[in-house]
């Protein structure tokens, strides 16, 4: 940036692409830096959101892909409230994130996922869903009936095989894309502090930031919803891991039941709350809750929602001793999981956890976090 002799190639199509990815107000920006200055992140983190927007306006692809600031953004929207141009920097940063994740992905699926319409996404999602329904209600149906006749909910690993395959495939994509993201982001950034210290820096940064944000009502709402989704998914992964490693855990009825119900309820509330808000959105709502936010944002919630519902139904039926219905709910849960893993988890908005972790780690290592 500061070197006068540096040559940088510019791709003039970038700004158009980012605008179609949801950064409608990109060209409004006149570089005053208000967004960076009002952002609660800036005090702790040496990044410039304005510069990320500037790179995007100019189309400096190399710099955009290596920029960690869009990933450090938490979309709280202080910048949008104080933008003198009436632009929405957080919305632009979300669009830049979509652009980055398209470029980090080598398969081209992320590109399609981010550029296609909601209808097209739903169509492909439904096609995959139909396929998995065929597997569970065709191929495995006799097995499910025989399990159900035992009157017990014993999940045999055989049912989990398709999901495990889908999970493994998505992990392969995530790992390879994550590696590419790491390469892009760590370019030109020298490591200044070690691994353990980086983690400590990130942890203290998060604690400070979240405590601060919890003091603001509209931010608290977002943080809680996000935390509910995160905890819900985390608990499901924990349950899955327990089942594989220590299946006896499920003999402790009370604890396991409590864990299962809280997992599905947290996920359901975490996903349901923003969905409801989006449907009832008005002019004044934060852009994140608006009905016409980018379709990728919608899909991230829509694909999670049936999973949360089915998980809840599964155990409600089981507790009502409606074993066959419980098995059907279980099969539906697994059917919804497959397209979720293959599309949303591997290429959609959910990839942000991976890129965020990478960006924070690289930022911490390169000494972007102040105060430590």
């Amino acid at each position: 940036m500061n070197g006068g002799s540096e040559f940088i190639s510019v791709n003039p199509d970038v700004n158009r692409t980012v605008i179609t990815l949801g950064g409608k107000s990109l060209l409004e920006c006149y570089q005053c830096g208000s967004c960076t200055a009002v952002c609660p992140l800036s005090e702790a983190l040496d990044v410039s959101f304005r510069r990320a927007i500037r790179y995007t306006q100019l189309g400096v692809e190399e710099k955009i892909l290596g920029d960690i600031s869009p990933w450090s953004c938490n979309l709280h929207g202080d910048c949008t409230d104080s933008c003198p141009r009436g632009a929405s920097p957080s919305e632009i940063l979300a669009a830049i994130r979509r652009y980055q994740s398209i470029k980090y992905d080598w398969t081209g699926i992320a590109k399609w996922w981010n550029n296609s319409s909601l209808m097209a996404k739903l169509f492909v999602y439904s096609a995959l869903l139909a396929l998995s329904l065929l597997i569970f209600f065709g191929y495995y149906w006799q097995k499910i009936l025989s399990y159900a006749s035992t009157g017990k909910l014993v999940v045999f690993s055989e049912l989990l095989i398709p999901v495990a395959v889908a999970f493994f495939v998505s992990l392969v994509f995530l790992a390879s894309n994550g590696y590419r993201a790491y390469k892009f982001m760590s370019k030109d950034k020298k490591a200044k502090i070690g691994f353990i210290k980086s983690l400590r820096v990130i942890a203290s940064f998060f604690m400070k930031l979240e405590t601060e944000a919890m003091g603001v009502p509209h931010k608290r709402e977002r943080i809680l919803e996000h935390a509910l989704i995160l905890i819900g998914i985390g608990l499901f992964i924990l349950l899955g891991a327990l089942y594989l490693i220590y299946p006896k855990f499920f003999d402790y009825e009370v604890i396991s039941r409590a864990l299962i119900y809280s997992a599905s309820l947290t996920l359901l509330i975490g996903v349901g709350s923003p969905l409801i808000k989006r449907l009832g959105s008005s002019e004044k709502t934060h852009w994140y809750y608006k009905r016409f936010t980018h379709s990728v944002d919608w899909m991230s919630l829509l694909t999670l929602f049936p999973i949360a519902v089915m998980a809840l139904l599964l155990f409600i039926f089981y507790d009502l001793s409606m074993i066959l219905y419980a098995y059907i709910a279980f099969a539906l849960l697994l059917s919804f999981l497959i397209p979720f893993l293959l599309l949303e988890f591997a290429f959609g908005k959910h990839t942000h956890w991976l890129y965020k972790v990478i960006a924070y780690y690289i930022g911490a290592r390169a000494g972007y976090f102040r105060g430590e």
Binding site: Y30, S42, P84
Partner: protein, 444 residues
């Protein structure tokens, strides 16, 4: 020969009046203040030449009195305008001054004897006090005293004192006046005029920076608007030209100017106020001239030095006076409670990260807003300025024939542009005044 009414006695209104009077046309100059001069009379120096503002304005103000065909109607407001080009009927409300101006000779004895001493002085932006009877500023034209009825003991006595006293209170000014000009019984007057043409020269007001609470104006003592700072450096100002902080009376060591306060911001005014870049540069130079060891920094988004000699002025400020320019919009000003110093928060866009700097004094370069709420049948633009008929080929005409507009009420501009427009509008108004001829009369 018929007459022309000019609304607003700022530098543009004065110029138009002089140009018209020179042609023998009868001119009425209305101003809501007790003196002509407008906003320019508040300034210490002008850019880009650093001329003393009043030294170049005062001769023009005084010249108004030399023409018998210029009638000054001060302390008055236009209430109604009807009719059309060649024959406008204008109703003017002349508010009472409680001083018979035909007798007052501006000796100012009353302003020294008046017992009410704590009225904020508008001319010094409230940074100093005046009496209840006052002359607006030493170079005022016409130099006549006026009683501020709201603060006068006689006209608006405090309720407690009113109960105790038997007769009327105070009356000091009446006793001391050598020409017996004080008239407590004066009533508002309606003046009706027939004029051929009108020139609107009502100029601008400063945008209230209290609309941006994050900048702390009005809350933090050492945050000033640029017009307040202008009074502070002026020899006729509250401190006789000494730059001191409101909080502790000490000279500041570091002063920051913050540009685009309320300008170029869709939340407040989307337009560029045009004068502030050069005004801040001028004020920084003045600060340097007053206090040689002061550090001056200007925080800007874009520097617009478009006029003749402006860019050279800017270069001079940087090289000769060592003024710093930092590109970044200041989003917040915090006061440090112990020292009353100010911490400003912004992104330095050259280095691309958040910075916080500490200053002893901060000056806000506030936006201007047009004084366009007038009972005159002309169209306005969306941002409240008076609409020009054709901004390229007919910039001084309005949507109504025979009504012309000059100066900052038509769009943010500086002194030279306002004066240029004033002469142009005077020529256009003269054409109309000469084409029509109608008798004028003053009806009480």
């Amino acid at each position: 020969m018929s007459s022309v009414l000019i609304i607003g006695g700022g530098v543009a209104g004065i110029q138009a009046a002089l140009d018209l009077a020179e042609q023998g046309i009868e001119v009425y100059l209305v101003d809501k203040a007790p003196s002509v001069g407008g906003k320019m009379a508040y300034l210490d120096k002008t850019f880009p030449t650093l001329d003393c503002a009043l030294c170049i304005l005062a001769p023009k103000m005084a010249a108004l009195l030399r023409y018998p065909n210029i009638k000054l109607i001060m302390n008055s407001e236009v209430q109604d305008v009807s009719g059309r080009a060649g024959n406008f009927k204008v109703k003017i409300l002349k508010k009472p001054t409680y001083v018979d101006w035909s007798k007052c000779n501006g000796c100012a004895v009353c302003t020294e004897k008046c017992p009410v001493k704590d009225v904020p002085n508008e001319y010094n932006m409230g940074l100093s006090n005046r009496r209840a009877i006052y002359i607006m500023f030493p170079q005022a034209v016409p130099k006549r005293a006026i009683i501020d009825a709201e603060h006068c003991m006689r006209l608006n006595p405090p309720p407690k004192a009113k109960e105790k006293a038997k007769g009327p209170l105070c009356g000091v000014c009446q006793r001391v006046c050598p020409t017996k000009a004080i008239d407590y019984e004066q009533k508002p007057e309606i003046i009706e005029l027939n004029v051929a043409s009108l020139i609107i020269a009502t100029g601008m007001e400063l945008y209230d920076p209290r609309n941006m609470p994050e900048l702390g104006y009005g809350k933090h003592q050492n945050v000033y608007t640029n017009l307040e700072f202008e009074r502070l450096v002026s020899a006729t100002g509250p401190t006789n030209g000494e730059i001191v902080r409101k909080s502790d009376g000490k000279h500041p060591k570091k002063i920051a100017w913050i540009q685009c306060v309320g300008s170029r911001d869709i939340r407040f005014n989307h337009y560029c106020s045009a004068y502030c870049c050069m005004a801040a540069t001028k004020q920084a130079i003045l600060a340097k001239e007053h206090l040689s060891d002061v550090q001056c920094t200007i925080y800007y988004m874009d520097i617009r030095a478009f006029g003749k000699g402006f860019n050279e002025f800017l270069e001079r400020a940087k090289k000769e006076f060592g003024i710093n320019y930092i590109r970044g919009k200041v989003v917040r000003i915090d006061e440090i409670p112990e020292t009353k110093n100010l911490k400003i928060i912004y992104e330095d866009t050259a280095e691309s990260y958040l910075k916080m700097d500490e200053y002893d004094m901060v000056v806000l370069s506030v936006a201007i807003t047009p004084n366009s709420k007038l009972p005159v049948p002309v169209e306005l633009t969306e941002d409240g300025f008076i609409k020009m008929k054709d901004p390229y080929l007919d910039p001084v005409s309005t949507s109504a024939e025979g009504i012309f507009v000059v100066g900052a009420v038509a769009g943010a501009k500086d002194i030279p542009d306002s004066v240029t427009e004033a002469s142009a509008a005077a020529a256009r108004a003269a054409l109309i005044a000469k084409r029509f001829s109608c008798p004028t009369e003053v009806v009480k």
